[in-house]
Every structure is written in C-alpha cells, then in structure tokens.
C-alpha cells in the first residue's frame, strides 16, 4: 500500500525543510525555520516601526496643518488651538487633542507636482529616473529591520490599500504586501490537513525551480523562489492573526472608525505589535480640484481626524508610541490659490507633512510659510529629510549606502538630514 503520512503529522519545520532543500536557496530567507510555529502571536511592543498614512491625490495641507486666516488663500476653515504648541484646522479637533505627541513640518518643498512623480519622490526620496527603480521607504525599512527579525513570518512591509510603490533594486522579497482593510488575505490555505499534499508538491516544485535557476537566466527565477519561501512561511504562520481586525475589541474598532481607513489603521497597529516594521495605510480621494472645503469638512477630515487620533491614543495606551513613528503625507500639497471651481490644484513648492511618535519631539511646527502660504520662509525640507528623521527614530544608521543593480551607490534617504527640531 501507499505510504501516507497521517494527517497532521507534518509539521512546519518538515515542510519548510522541503522548501529549502534546493542547493541554490539563500539562507537568510529561511533562517526563521528555527522558529517553529508558536501557538499564539507574540506581542512585540518594543520593536521599532513606522506607520505611513498616505493621503493619495495630494492633500490640501493649507486647510489642515498650516492655515492662513486673513489671507485671500485662507479658505473657509479656521485654526484651533491644540495640546501642542501649534494650531491646526478646526475640522481636526480629535487630532488637536493628541497634538502634544505629533508635529507638523510646514516647510516641505518638493518640486514634483505630478501624481506619479510625486508619489515616487515622496516614497523613495529620489526623483524618478528611467534607468533605476528606487525602493519605497517601506522596502528600505523591510530590508534594514525586517530582515533582522527572524521571528517575523509575515511580510515586513504591508500596504493596506495599495499604491505603496515597489521594492526596486532591493528585490521582490521586500515589495509591499498589498491587502484590503477587511483583513481577508486571499488564497491563504490554512487548512493543515492539506499540508502533506503541499509537501509533496513543493518537493517536485523544488526540482523544477532549481533546474530553471541553474540554467543561468538572471535574478528573476531566484527572486521567484525567495518570494515563494515567504508565501509558504506566511501560510503556515499564526502571525496571520494580526490581519484580523474583526477579532479586536469592538470598542477599539469603534474608536478607529467604522470605515476602511479606520480598519486599516487598526490593522497597522496589530501588525506593528506583531513585529512588522513598516505599514502603509492608504486613504485616497484628496485630489480636490473641485469643491475642496465641503469635501474636506464632510468627508475627508472627519475620517482622518478620528483615525489618527485613535491610533495615537491606542499606541500611547499600549506603550508603543515611543517606538512607532507615524508619518502622514501625500504626493504634494495643493495650491494656496483657490481656483474657479472652489478647488485647489497641485502644489509642491510649500506644503506640510505630519509626523510624530517614535521618540520624536511632539507638539511643534517645524518651519513656516509666508502669510499667503505660497513660499517657505527660511529652511525647507525634502522627502529625504523626512525619511532621514524616520531612520533616526528607527535607529537605522544614516551612513548606509545601498547599491543599485548596476553598482551605483544609493545613499539611504537620498542623503537627507534628520530634522533637528524633531530629533534634537
């Protein structure tokens, strides 16, 4: 009779060893084999992490973080006082109560006011260049911190909602793992009774893959195998529980907001708690060429306000805020001038980004714009400076230089400098 493992006898180590059997396997990707399936996800509150809240479309920061009352560009909103040493929009009252922990950089000046280019620039700190694909900063953090967290069985760069760019020359294992905010990861077969089947399949697969890799056809087949390693690792991991926002206390869920954005932020906290060093949560709909004030007041700002305030408070309550940086920005700001459709267009010359947590100084406004918001007074900042600040908070050394596939040296955060007021 055919010899068959009784169901359930195959353990994780056994299967992973099959996966890793090929001679061409890279050791690092599979060295978490020594961590054999813990019973429950361990909570890791002391690990450094960054949550990027991405406002896709380009938020009108002049109506959010740097209001200009009295100017012709001021618009309809009034500033309110906060717990920090700065004022923000009246439609962000909950964030105002957290503002002692958060700061605003009011002197971003970034030059790229096209969606694609701005998205790329703000994510990578490099302007687009046809000859090299730079990694999104989440991939950089995945590369620097994720690779060192051997216990981590789920991807170390998670994008809730997508649009987080690519891993570029750092390779597909550091690419963002894109999920919906509902936490249902498609095609994760967690049925352990089928694992012995998977084992046999992977054994065959190994032979085929190695044959193709050995045929000397570049990086792609090897990258494919590494990604499969990650995928199998994930399928069999109890850490997948972190994606299940619905298993969170209903009160907490309510606090974050019963919408995709709120769930995304809550998922981000759960992922960070599990050890994921970089989570990006996408909130779109900021490309407000028309009707900017009504849209902000009725839709965008209440959602943003509730979500960010809940996240900040939650991280604080759990003692995680000191280790978790929150960055909130989009590809650029919007024109100070209000257009004929009561909207604001693309504007990269003078705008604001919000940043806090991770031990950075809270409650301050860094830099300033002139009275109409059209120019920066004094020093201005580039995306590289934001990411250098994040590096500092995450304790990633700033002298790291990555190398593109062609051997071109690429300074981390494009050689940016941590913003003094925030790290000092």
């Amino acid at each position: 009779m055919m010899k068959k493992n009784p169901p359930g006898t195959m353990n994780r180590r056994h299967m992973m060893s099959h996966l890793a059997a090929g001679a061409a396997m890279t050791v690092p990707a599979y060295s978490f084999l020594n961590h054999v399936s813990a019973n429950a996800a361990e909570i890791r509150r002391n690990e450094k992490a960054c949550i990027l809240i991405w406002l896709s479309g380009g938020p009108p920061t002049i109506d959010m973080w740097d209001l200009k009352p009295g100017s012709k560009n001021g618009g309809e909103f009034k500033p309110i006082s906060t717990k920090g040493d700065l004022q923000i929009s009246e439609h962000l009252p909950k964030i105002a109560q957290q503002m002692d922990s958060l700061s605003v950089i009011r002197s971003m000046s970034t030059r790229e006011a096209d969606h694609t280019r701005g998205r790329y620039y703000m994510h990578t700190a490099y302007v687009p260049n046809p000859t090299v694909i730079h990694p999104s900063f989440g991939s950089v953090v995945s590369y620097e911190l994720g690779s060192k967290r051997k216990y981590l069985e789920i991807p170390s760069f998670v994008s809730v909602g997508g649009g987080a760019g690519s891993a570029g020359f750092l390779g597909m294992t550091h690419a963002p793992f894109v999920v919906d905010s509902n936490g249902n990861i498609r095609n994760v077969d967690r049925n352990s009774s089928r694992r012995d089947r998977l084992q046999q399949r992977l054994a065959m697969w190994n032979v085929i893959e190695d044959g193709f890799i050995k045929s000397g056809r570049g990086d792609l087949p090897k990258a494919h195998k590494d990604v499969y390693g990650k995928a199998v690792n994930l399928m069999t991991s109890s850490q997948m529980e972190a994606f299940q926002v619905s298993s969170e206390d209903p009160k907490t869920q309510e606090a974050y907001g019963n919408n995709n954005f709120g769930r995304g932020l809550l998922m981000a906290r759960r992922l960070v708690e599990t050890g994921v060093p970089f989570v990006e949560v996408n909130l779109g709909g900021w490309d407000l060429h028309n009707d900017v004030f009504n849209t902000l007041r009725d839709q965008k700002l209440p959602q943003l306000d509730q979500g960010i305030a809940a996240l900040t408070q939650d991280l604080k309550d759990r003692g995680m805020l000191e280790n978790t940086v929150i960055v909130c920005m989009g590809e650029f700001g919007r024109t100070p001038r209000i257009n004929q459709n009561t909207g604001r267009d693309h504007w990269a010359a003078s705008w604001s980004a919000m940043i806090g947590g991770g031990g950075l100084n809270g409650g301050i406004a860094v830099g300033e714009t002139d009275k109409d918001g059209t120019a920066i007074l004094g020093k201005s900042y580039l995306p590289g400076d934001i990411w250098a600040t994040v590096c500092k908070a995450l304790k990633i050394p700033l002298n790291i230089v990555h190398t593109s596939k062609r051997g071109r040296p690429m300074k981390i955060a494009n050689g940016g400098t941590p913003i003094e007021e925030l790290v000092g």
Binding site: S56, R111, D114, W205, K405
Partner: protein
C-alpha cells in the same frame, strides 16, 4: 550637501529657476557668486544638474561593468570638475567666452530674457558662467555618449556577432513561403555569408520611395489573380524590412562587442509566439503540430495563422483596452464595448491611424460606440487626464510633467500641454434620457458630444500668471471658432506626415510587447532628450509602418520573423551585460524575460484545463470572469487622473494565488479540468502522461531530474491491483505534478 543649502538658503530655488528657465539676472548673479567662491557649492551645483542629465550619463557609461562603472563615473566626475573649473576660471577672466558661440546654447536660453538691458558686463559674466557650466556638462555627457551610440557605417565584418549569424535562421528561411524566391534574395544570403563585404543595408529611401502598397498593387497585376489583394507581392518589402531589423540589431552587437545568444529551440519559440500573439500558451497538440511541420517557412506559417486567429484580435484588443482606459472599473466606461471595437478593428485590419482618429473624435453613447470610451474615461478635470493620456499612450511623450516642471533638455513647454488640451475644450459628456421598451422605466445614457464653444483655453503658469492657449499641434494652428469641431481637426493633424508621433509611439510599444523593452526607456517618453537604443532601425520601422498604411499585422509580422525575436532567452557569458532591466539600453542580444500579464496567465490556465472558449457566448463569459479575476490584483490610486497600480508580477499575492487559488484548483482537478480527466482516462503509460503534462504546461519535454522524481512518486503505485484505486492515486500524483509545473517561474515567465 545639506550644509550648502543651509549656508545659501536660496540656492536650491535658484537652481530650479535655472532649469526652468525662469532665472532672472539677480538670481544668475547670485548663483555665479556662490559657485565661484565656494567649491562645495560648485560641487552641489554639478550634482544638481546631474539629476537632470542622469539619463545621458547612464547611456554614456552603459557598457562598463558595475565595478568599472563606479571608477569610470568617478573619473568622469573628476574630469568634469577640472573642465568646469577651467571654464569657471575662463569665464571669470573673460566676460565673452568665444567657445560659447560655437556651442548651440545661447546664454539667453538659460537666463530670463526679460532682464533689463543695463549692467551688461556683469550679466554676461554670470550668463557665461552659467552657460559654461551647463555646456561643459552637456558636451562631456554627449561626448561620452557618442562612441556607444554612433553607428559607424563602415564597420569591419569580422566581428563577434557575425559568427553567430550562421547559427541563426536567416530571414530568407523564415520568409521563404514565396514559391519563387527572386534572385535578389539568393544574393542577399550569399552576401551575408561572405565575411569581407560590409553589411550593406537595403537602400530604402522611405521619403522618396513610392508607397510600398502602391508598388505592391502595381506588382499584383502580374503576380496574383486577386486584384487589390496586395499580400503576395508585398513579400518583397516585408523581406527587406525584416532584413533591416536583422542588420541593424546585429550592427548594435558589433558596435558593443556583444555576442548574441543562439536561436531558441523550437519549443521555446513556439511558446513565445503563442503567448505574444494569441495571449496564451500553446496546447500540446498545437506545439507538436508546429514541431512536426518539416516544410520550410513554418515560422512564417505559424505567425500568419496566429495573426489571422480571433485570439490575436482578442489579446491585442485586451492589451490596448488596458492601456487606454485602465483595468479599474469606471461607471461611465464600458470596457467591453471598447474591447469589441478594437477587436473588430484588428480583425478587419483597420489601419492604426484610423483607430487613433476614432479614439480622438468618437461621439455618442460609449456603450454603443466603443472608441468613445477612451475620452469618456479621461475628460474629467478640464480634460487634463485626457491630454496626458493622449500624449503618453498615443504619442509616446510625457508632456504632463510640463505642467509643473521643466526639463532643461526637453523642449515641451507648459503652453504645448495646454495647446493640446485646448482640442478637448468642446468635448463634453452629457446625460440624455433614453427611450426604453418599458414606459415606466427611464434610463440615462451618457453621450460624448462636442459643444459649440470657441475661444482659447486659460491656464495658470507656475508663477501664477494666467495665460491663453489656442488649439495647436505640431506647429499647426486650428481655428478656435466655435463651428470648428476641434477633436476632428486633431484627429487629422495626428496622422499627418510620413513619421508622425502616433506611428513612432505605436512601433515602440509594439516592439516592446515582443521584446520586453522598447527602443526608449520608458517606452512612452520619446524625444530628443531620450535617445533611442537603435535610432535608425526605429525610424525605418516607424516610417515603413506609415508607408504600409499603418498596417498593424504587417508590423507584427516583421518583428516576429526577425532574427532577434528568434533568439534564445539563455544569455551567454558574452552578452550577460546586456541587461535593460538594470536600466541599460537594450541590445536585444537574447530574448528578455517577460512576466505573463494577468490576462495571459488567466487565458493559459483556462486553456490548460481544456475549458477555453469556442463560441462567442463562451467568450463573453470568459471575458467577464477574467475581468473580475484580474481585479483582485489591481487597485485604483483614487486620484483625478485615473491612476492605478497593480501588485501582480512576482509578489507574494501572486504566489499565494498560484499555490492555493480556486483557478489553479480548477485547472488541475479532474473534477473540473477536462485535461486532467482525459489524461487519467487515457490508456498510455504513466510516463507518457507525465510528458503530456509537461508539454501542456511548459511546452517542453520533462528534464531527467524531473523524470526521476516522477518515477519515485509513481513507484508507490506499483503492485496496486485495483485499477480504480490506482487511477485515483495516479490522478492525485498528476495533479501534484501539474501544481508544481504551474508554480514554477518557468511557467509564469514568457521567455
């Protein structure tokens, strides 16, 4: 670098202005002062401009290997610094530097022309200095670039490259379907074998030459009984063009001292051409049909057969639908209507110029008039997305950047963007109540119309000034009277000339579909600032394409029958440095990997399972299923420009789908897969069945190591006497084997 900006807070802004040509005299003076007095600032200045010419740098140092690369870059930088410093010194000494006048740059190009005419000498010093630096930069960039890029017409024949051509099927073999090859062809092949003759190109003067179509028609009187059917006599031209491709690409290998890979084996090529043309892998039967065809010209016959198949029309239409309106759903856009229109166009062999005209000028209900969907998808936000999409997708140019950012080497201005935009000023989607059979129900159709409005378009410059733009394209101005329907005028202007952008862009995209890379990187950024990898070939192809009457299938045929397309994807040590994936200009010395698109993967899986659509009802269902399946990998970027991204190729998400997805299960399970079911029911040997699986999925025979493993797997079946039980177990083994093959990187890559 940061210190510089702290020391001179305005420096960065001034440099911006310099690049955007909005620098005033005061600013120029300031730059000049900073750069002259501070070496660190000079360094920063150089690096700053470096960003704007990185492309040129990359081209210039492309054939160095990575380690030498750095050194060379360093050397370049040092050399550059010396040059710049000498220029700076000269400029400071001598206000009017004579060397500048020999350059093509006038100082006024880089310094605002609105400056006052007084303070002459200081102005000139500054202007000279700035221009000197910039000029030095450009000159040295181009200088470094030139050896790699120039195609020297007098090249010795005994170069690497030549040796290999004998391994490669010549185009004569590929195109030898013609029953009576002309003597010229014979000569052609003989000449190629002779090592001491220079590789003379066929002398094609497209500008002067009469349209090949008309030549063909003249010939057709003699050669074919079907008047008006130009197919047979056009062979002569097709052959010439294929030969141009072969020679030009080969010239590139010679210039770069690259040895091309040998030709792909028949299995590899057959799989490739099915994926590229039919949008799916071949069945085992189709593969063996090709392999067993022993007559000459079988490649050509396969290409021709596939080109005429409905599947080619479908996969071509799918690709262009995705390019034109994206994959994300849009409530006013009927993707299937657009797809059907495109499929019909290619089936009827409509010229590309006509398709472009339709896309630009279509009116009416997008549900009924397919091409109307293109603009309906992008007319929002004052047709800014429409302008950008037309420019990028149809014209291969990136003028949307010009809205906010000016490239110093790129002549497109903000005004040009708005001039093109002005053509869409009248276009408007209007809601129209529709009659329905049920009187109680009223439906609303959204019609694409042209409103009778005239006048220019207003836009704001980067400095906040309001400007006007009149409808103008490529130097042709169109009346802004309200009675002139501007989109129709644009449609005419776009197809004018013997090498318009729509032809270049289409050729570049088509080429990149087959090779993975176009002549420019990226493919939708054509222009003098971004020199193509094979300028002459690119031009010949696009001119020939125009001369052929924008014949899409002919263009595809030229490419598919060319020698480079026949090459193996196995790189040799001698051409491993040909790596466009790292940003180098491609040399096409071996076939590059092309990851399967979601649609190609879906089609292939359904085809493997034996459930590929045959009737048109089947096709509609197939398309609907495919669309919803594909959407799991696509996310809208939720901005006003209809941006979207996908996380399909090479991601963990894709791996999970391939390992556990329902579609994979349907492809391999005997309950749903006709293929697996019939395989099990078949009487052949187990090993034969295993081979069939391998042929059906990877289009090749199993390798020895794989056979050994399979033998081990079925060893467990030995001694099983119950045939039902045996069959059940074998089915499981075959399923596992299929799973393993489907999950291999070899399967999800077109190679």
């Amino acid at each position: 670098m940061k210190e510089i900006l702290q020391k001179y807070p305005r420096f960065s802004r001034l440099l911006d202005q310099l690049c955007e040509q909005s620098l005033d005299q005061k600013g120029a003076d300031e730059i000049s002062r900073i750069v002259k007095n501070d070496p660190a600032a000079r360094d920063y200045y150089i690096r700053y401009l470096d960003i704007h010419s990185t492309l040129h740098w990359d081209l210039a140092i492309s054939d160095a290997n990575p380690t030498e690369n750095k050194q060379e870059q360093l050397q370049n930088n040092t050399r550059l610094k010396q040059l710049v410093e000498s220029f700076v010194a000269e400029a400071a000494l001598e206000p009017i530097n004579s060397s500048l006048t020999t350059g093509e740059l006038d100082t006024s190009e880089f310094v605002s022309s609105s400056r006052p005419s007084s303070s002459y000498s200081s102005r000139k010093t500054a202007g000279t200095l700035v221009a000197a630096l910039l000029l030095t930069f450009m000159v040295s960039g181009f200088w470094a670039l030139s050896p790699a890029k120039q195609h020297d017409p007098v090249v010795k024949q005994n170069q690497p490259g030549e040796v290999v051509t004998s391994d490669i099927a010549t185009s004569d073999e590929l195109v030898s379907n013609d029953s009576s090859p002309s003597p010229g062809d014979k000569q052609n092949s003989e000449r190629m074998a002779e090592p001491d003759l220079p590789p003379k190109l066929p002398d094609i003067k497209w500008e002067q030459q009469s349209n090949p179509i008309s030549t063909a028609q003249a010939d057709s009187k003699k050669e074919t009984s079907e008047p008006g059917s130009p197919s047979a006599p056009q062979l002569i031209d097709d052959r010439q063009i294929v030969e141009v491709i072969n020679q030009r690409i080969k010239q590139g290998w010679i210039d770069q001292s690259i040895t091309p890979s040998p030709v792909a084996d028949d299995h590899e090529w057959c799989r490739r051409v099915y994926l590229d043309l039919a949008g799916r892998i071949p069945t085992a039967t189709e593969l063996s049909h090709f392999l067993n065809d022993e007559r000459t010209g079988r490649e050509r016959r396969l290409v021709d057969r596939l080109l005429e198949s409905p599947e080619f029309a479908m996969s071509w239409a799918t690709r262009w639908t995705n390019l034109l309106v994206g994959r994300s759903p849009n409530k006013h856009v009927d993707r299937l209507a657009l797809l059907k229109y495109l499929r019909h166009s290619i089936t009827e062999n409509a010229p590309w110029s006509l398709v472009v005209s339709d896309l630009i000028s279509a009116q009416g209900d997008p549900k009924k008039n397919g091409p109307a969907n293109f603009l309906v998808a992008h007319l929002n936000n004052q047709a800014v997305p429409a302008t950008a999409f037309v420019a990028r997708t149809l014209l291969g140019t990136q003028i949307q950047c010009a809205q906010c950012h000016r490239h110093p080497f790129y002549e497109t201005t903000q005004r040009q963007f708005w001039e093109l935009n002005s053509f869409f000023k009248q276009a408007k989607v209007v809601a129209a109540p529709q009659m329905t059979t049920d009187a109680n129900q009223q439906q609303t159709a959204y019609l694409l119309t042209d409103q009778p409005v005239g006048g220019p378009t207003y836009y704001e410059t980067r400095s906040g000034l309001m400007q006007v733009a009149y409808p103008r394209f490529n130097g042709h101005k169109v009346s802004d009277d309200k009675t002139v329907i501007r989109r129709q005028e644009l449609a005419k202007l776009l197809v004018e000339g013997d090498d318009p952008l729509i032809a270049q862009s289409f050729v570049n995209r088509t080429w990149s579909h087959f090779f993975g890379y176009g002549f420019t990187l990226p493919i939708d950024d054509i222009g003098p600032h971004n020199p193509p990898s094979h300028p002459k070939l690119f031009e010949t192809l696009s001119r020939s394409f125009v001369a052929s009457g924008y014949d899409i299938k002919r263009l595809v045929r030229w490419i598919c029958l060319s020698r480079p397309y026949r090459l193996s994807s196995h790189p040799l040590p001698e051409n491993r440095q040909d790596t466009p994936q790292w940003g180098d200009p491609p040399a096409f010395s071996h076939m590059y990997f092309k990851p399967l698109s979601p649609e190609q993967l879906y089609n292939s899986l359904v085809e493997i399972s034996g459930n590929y659509p045959h009737s048109s009802d089947d096709w509609n269902r197939h398309l609907e299923n495919r669309e919803s399946w594909v959407l799991q990998f696509v996310e809208s970027l939720d901005n006003d420009e209809n941006g979207e991204s996908n996380h399909f190729q090479g991601t963990i998400t894709q791996a999970l789908m391939m390992m556990n997805g329902e579609l994979i299960n349907r492809t391999i399970s005997p309950d749903s897969s006709r293929f697996t079911a019939s395989l099990i029911g078949h009487t052949g040997s187990d090993l034969k069945k295993f081979e069939t699986v391998c042929l059906a999925i990877l289009s090749r025979e199993p390798k020895p190591g794989e056979i050994v493993l399979f033998r081990k797997m079925i060893h467990q079946l030995k001694g099983l006497n119950n045939p039902v039980e045996r069959r059940r177990l074998l089915a499981g083994q075959l399923e596992d084997v299929m799973w393993a093959y489907l999950n291999s990187s070899e399967f999800i890559i077109n190679h």
